[in-house]
């Protein structure tokens, strides 16, 4: 994957806005569980959708991160989803589904996080 720009969580709003103002379109965001931290990547496309640009930041699991929904509604669903599935603490969402966008009351919480301990064990084995 080319074009990955590492930023900090606080830059995301500014950087995102810059890209959008330049005519880019928000594509999606991906959250990865890096065991201790969460890695968040925002994808933007430009040039008739052919070129991709990624903004990536890494945060601790209990850190709050800003939301892009103040700038563009297109991140609404994905940010809610990351909040719900990964426990990413996104604040100031335009519509906050309160962790029940996808999941019902009796669904497992933050199901996408990897089991930390089990992983540690398996790593230990290796």
């Amino acid at each position: 994957m080319e074009n990955i720009i590492q930023i900090t969580k606080n830059d995301i709003v500014n950087e995102g806005k810059k890209l959008l103002d330049a005519g880019a379109k928000f594509v999606t965001a991906v959250c990865n569980d890096l065991d201790e931290k969460l890695e968040v990547t925002y994808f933007f496309s430009a040039n008739r959708g052919v070129d991709l640009t990624c903004l990536r930041y890494t945060v601790g699991k209990d850190e709050e991160v800003p939301s892009l929904t103040g700038t563009t509604l297109s991140t609404l669903l994905i940010e809610n989803e990351m909040k719900e599935l990964f426990g990413l603490k996104v604040k100031d969402l335009a519509i906050d589904y309160g962790g029940h966008l996808m999941l019902a009351h009796d669904s497992p919480t933050t199901p996408m996080l990897k089991p930390k301990k089990a992983e540690a064990e398996s790593k230990g084995e290796i």
């Binding site: 994957m1 379109k25 594509v27 999606t28 991906v30 569980d33 008739r48 991709l52 994905i78």
Partner: protein
């Protein structure tokens, strides 16, 4: 003074084949507020993709959506192949393209029918579906199944199209083109259809970009954007330019799909005529290396993003699926307010939401 009405629209509602709820507030019959409620189709496929051996992901991800099932299988194999990356034989690329366009043909016929049903044009709905069965037949003959083709594997495809099949496909496509031509002509010119779609649910170019819309929804608003422009599979070797309509209303979105239907048939014809000889699959050993990649394909409803991250084992570290509807769904927030109750289904269908893929 007029009192408002707030009611649920879905999850089980006759005009929505899939479970999704819109909590809509009306004034008389005018929509004044809408809140989409999703989550009825959530299964947890992304997580299961990490648990499965990577080959099984094809069969799982194909079932993210049964309508553009083919594009999902293509995307998932493309993503996995790109992790190495593998060198795929040209014939395979062409075969994949042919099936992709075949799937698009059936999907657009399906959509045109459902869209006709959204404004109560039942005879047209049935007529489109009648034609669609012919496409399903050639899909089944060539790929093995009407709906879930399961023809892609990492490294290639399972089946080939031989000369006899090629002839059947071409003959059938000609019939499909002729019959759809009549019907699309009605759809485009019919007074009642026009009065239900023209000017309904207008989304400007700027709005569509800001909401991050994709596919026909975006192209109906005058943006020429299409993942096929990235020239994946065999698209680089075919004569392709996206179809664009500028009005941004339901009629424009309908026209985009109607024209794409014929474009898809043309692309299949072209690909069939250029079909190179050669292998259809290569052997793959071991698991995908630690790497990350994005595969982008154009599903009938728009651009499909697969983000994959490998770790050298036979299990993927992470698989992220961004489906077209996921990108298009926020558009209901600006399409619905102000429209009439009767136009709600028309507007919703014009986006063609596919909830199963949105929620995975």
């Amino acid at each position: 003074m007029a009192t408002r009405t707030t009611v649920p629209f879905g999850p089980q509602h006759p005009v929505l084949p899939e479970p999704v709820q819109l909590r809509i507030t009306y004034e008389d019959e005018k929509v004044v507020e809408v809140v989409p409620v999703i989550g009825y189709g959530q299964r947890g496929i992304e997580k299961a993709c990490e648990l499965n051996e990577y080959n099984k992901n094809i069969y799982l991800c194909e079932r993210v959506c049964g309508i553009c099932s083919y594009q999902h299988s293509e995307s998932v194999v493309l993503a996995t192949e790109q992790l190495w990356p593998l060198d795929i034989p040209p014939r395979t690329k062409f075969l994949r393209t042919i099936w992709a366009e075949m799937a698009r043909t059936h999907s657009h016929l399906l959509w045109l029918g459902l869209f006709a049903d959204a404004f109560g044009y039942e005879s047209m709905f049935l007529q489109f579906w009648r034609i669609r069965e012919k496409v399903l037949d050639i899909l089944e003959q060539t790929a093995g199944h009407r709906v879930i083709q399961s023809v892609n594997v990492v490294g290639g495809v399972r089946r080939d199209i031989d000369e006899a099949q090629k002839k059947t496909v071409i003959d059938t496509l000609n019939v499909v083109r002729r019959e759809s031509d009549d019907l699309v002509n009605v759809l485009i010119n019919d007074y009642t259809v026009k009065s239900r779609t023209v000017g309904v649910g207008v989304m400007t170019k700027a709005q569509a970009m800001a909401l991050g819309c994709v596919g026909p929804t975006l192209r109906g608003s005058g943006v020429s954007e299409d993942a096929r422009l990235t020239k994946y599979s065999a698209y680089g070797e075919l004569n392709y330019e996206p179809i664009v309509e500028t009005a941004g209303d339901c009629y424009a979105r309908m026209k985009v799909r109607a024209r794409e239907l014929f474009q898809a048939i043309d692309l299949q014809m072209e690909a069939l005529s250029k079909l190179p000889e050669g292998e259809i699959a290569i052997k793959v050993k071991g698991g995908p290396p630690a790497n990350e990649t994005v595969a982008r394909t154009e599903a009938p409803r728009g651009e499909l993003y697969y983000y994959a991250k490998g770790n050298g084992t036979r299990h993927l570290e992470r698989m992220k699926i961004r489906t077209p509807t996921f990108a298009n769904l926020p558009a209901v927030l600006i399409l619905l307010p102000g429209c009439q109750l009767a136009d709600v289904p028309v507007n919703i269908h014009s986006l063609d939401p596919c909830i199963s893929c949105t929620e995975r």
